[in-house]
């Protein structure tokens, strides 16, 4: 089994899809010779040429929209939006066009486009290069939304996203690009809408996405020392959501923490909490805890950034609260 970093796993999915299928091509800012601002597409232009690895101008509306138009003609483009923050520039095309063409046409057309993007704090980029906006897109009927947290997942989920006949907004986390893992020789597609249980536990379920999956696993190990058995579940696909997996886990543990790096208010965790309380109300022994960024733009100074975004300690404290223990005891 080869060891791949998260970055290499994304690249592997892209290059395998392009090798297999002439209809797949990628486009984005600085993705060709430079290999993308995160180095994800390094070397792809050498193998596939500039027609299929297309550098675009800094024009998010046009590059998103052109990917949509090519998809409506049956191609499977993958458009890279360099930073999640720049999704704001492409949002009209993603929300009003990609998500709705099928619907507005009464089912006449499919839009098999994938928008890859990345974000995430922890390196002091300030307020316009690291925010987490996944919850915006979970609100839009017609889109699928994926947020992968491991090399194996990111590879299998990206493949499935490329081959999904619906528009997919695919979130990667910047601070995960370097993490490594043994992955199977053969790429195993991971169906969209299927959660993954990373760790089994009896007392509390932590439902986490992106970087917070890793923070939750660290918190779970700490909690174990304190005699609290924690289950960690990553939905992986935020839309559609594997509600059954989340609900059944909470029905077993009777306690739930939702955790993501995005701002808590209106975050994806709010949706998860609503789903859980509605379907597992009688099973809950404690209020659902939400972990996420404080209600602030991302600050620049490292001490402030560290303060705003959540870490394993925040997850651990939330776990403790669900079992009636005060922080640190």
């Amino acid at each position: 089994m080869p060891e791949l970093s998260y970055r290499e796993a994304v690249r592997d999915a892209l290059s395998r899809a392009m090798r297999d299928d002439e209809d797949v091509f990628i486009m984005g800012e600085d993705i060709a010779e430079m290999g993308g601002s995160m180095g994800v597409t390094q070397g792809l232009v050498d193998e596939f040429g500039p027609e299929r690895v297309r550098n675009t101008p800094i024009s998010e509306m046009a590059l998103a929209g052109a990917a949509i138009g090519a998809a409506m003609q049956g191609m499977r483009p993958v458009a890279e939006i360099m930073y999640e923050d720049f999704l704001t520039l492409a949002t009209e095309q993603i929300v009003n066009q990609a998500a709705k063409h099928r619907y507005m046409s009464g089912g006449q057309v499919t839009v098999p486009v994938t928008f890859r993007t990345q974000g995430g704090a922890g390196w002091s980029p300030g307020a316009q290069h690291a925010q987490q906006l996944e919850s915006w897109f979970v609100h839009i009927p017609g889109l699928k939304v994926v947020f992968a947290s491991t090399p194996t997942d990111v590879r299998g989920l990206l493949w499935s996203s490329i081959y999904d006949d619906n528009p997919v907004v695919f979130f990667e986390h910047r601070t995960l690009y370097g993490i490594k893992e043994d992955v199977p020789d053969e790429l195993e597609p991971i169906p969209l809408g299927q959660a993954r249980t990373h760790r089994r536990g009896e007392d509390v379920t932590v439902i986490a996405t992106g970087r917070l999956v890793h923070e939750a696993l660290a918190a779970a190990n700490e909690a174990e020392q304190e005699g609290i058995s924690v289950e960690v579940v990553d939905p992986r696909t935020l839309l559609p959501l594997d509600e059954e997996a989340l609900i059944s886990s909470v029905k077993k543990t009777n306690r739930c923490v939702v955790a993501h790096e995005a701002v808590v208010r209106g975050g994806f965790g709010a949706e998860v909490a609503a789903v859980i309380q509605y379907s597992a109300f009688d099973w809950l022994d404690a209020p659902i805890e939400r972990v996420g960024a404080k209600f602030s733009p991302l600050p620049f100074a490292p001490v402030m950034e560290e303060f705003v975004v959540p870490h394993a300690g925040d997850v651990l404290n939330a776990i403790r609260r669900t079992v009636g223990r005060t922080d640190g005891n």
Binding site: M61, G65, G69, P141, N166
Partner: protein, 323 residues
């Protein structure tokens, strides 16, 4: 609707066919206005009375396989691209037999099989997709062209500039048809554009730009033919700056308080493309009457068809969201 045999030249009978089609669009839209005012049509509607020569001239110049993207003022483009009056009218009545099966309405008319990639209710919204569709034609080596319709108002929005830049940069087979009717909703060109010659915007991106009289269907057709040949031949996209006139308000019911009565009357009297063609063809009153009663009958039939159409079930609203 029969295709013009010899694409390069137009016979008198071709032009009579154009006349018939333009009149059909006119009568269709007049009927739409009448039925809307009678309270039969939901939503709100924009008609393109005065701009029929653009829709017909451009769409008649297309080849099989070419595609269009349209705007909120889409009835003419849609009919000219081959959607039947019945299917279009049924859509306006919200029926399942409609060209978007009741999911779209006047501003979201689709007919994928006939190459209509959709009318767009976001100004400039369709330009990036036409650029991308044209890119796919280029990548696949298909001799097809993507055509985007939009108005002068759309040339102020980012998608226009980003799309023209990208299309020219990538030399994709696209034709950008700017229907300059001099109004962005209620705002006149001089209030929304600091230049008079709209084609300069395309020239700024290095794109071939052609100016054409949009009230002369033959001129539109010929300019569109040349533009399509240019794009299809791999020579890059073309911008058609079509000078046209909206002889009505922005939407049905628009009191047009922003427009002087004198200007409107003068424009109506001098800029009707159907009247221009009638004069050019020296058509007698009887000839016109014959065609007129034929197209009116088609339009009446479309209303009947639509009224007898099938209402979607409320819960059908939850279909077609995902493939």
């Amino acid at each position: 609707m029969a295709k013009v045999e010899q694409k390069g030249t137009l016979s008198k009978s071709d032009l009579r066919e154009f006349f018939r089609e333009m009149l059909l669009i006119r009568r269709f839209e007049e009927k739409v206005e009448e039925r809307f005012r009678a309270g039969e049509l939901p939503g709100f509607l924009h008609v393109a009375i005065g701009q029929e020569a653009v829709a017909v001239g451009v769409c008649r110049a297309l080849e099989e396989g070419d595609i269009i993207a349209s705007t909120h003022r889409a009835h003419g483009h849609t009919l000219a691209k081959g959607t039947t009056p019945n299917e279009l009218m049924a859509e306006l009545y919200g029926k399942m037999e409609g060209c978007s099966h009741g999911y779209g309405g006047s501003m979201h008319l689709y007919d994928i099989e006939r190459g209509n990639m959709g009318a767009n209710a976001v100004v400039g919204g369709g330009l990036p997709a036409i650029t991308g569709a044209a890119l796919s034609f280029k990548l696949r080596g298909e001799p097809r062209v993507g055509v985007a319709f939009f108005g002068d108002g759309a040339t102020n929005i980012g998608t226009f500039h980003e799309s023209l830049n990208l299309a020219q940069l990538w030399q994709v087979p696209a034709v950008f048809v700017c229907e300059n009717n001099h109004w962005a909703e209620s705002t006149p060109s001089w209030q929304h554009m600091p230049i008079e010659d709209i084609s300069q915007r395309a020239v700024a991106y290095g794109m071939k730009a052609v100016k054409v009289d949009g009230q002369d269907v033959e001129a539109v057709y010929k300019a569109a033919r040349r533009a399509l040949e240019h794009a299809r031949g791999g020579k890059g996209p073309v911008f058609l700056a079509v000078n046209t006139f909206r002889l009505v308000g922005h939407y049905i019911g628009d009191p047009q308080v922003y427009r002087s009565k004198e200007e409107l009357e003068e424009t109506r009297a001098t800029q009707d493309p159907i009247e221009h063609l009638r004069t050019k063809l020296e058509m007698s009153a009887d000839e016109v009457e014959e065609i007129d009663s034929e197209v009116k009958e088609i339009v009446e039939g479309a209303v009947e068809f639509a009224k007898n159409g099938t209402d979607p079930k409320p819960e059908d609203a939850l279909k077609n969201i995902y493939a």
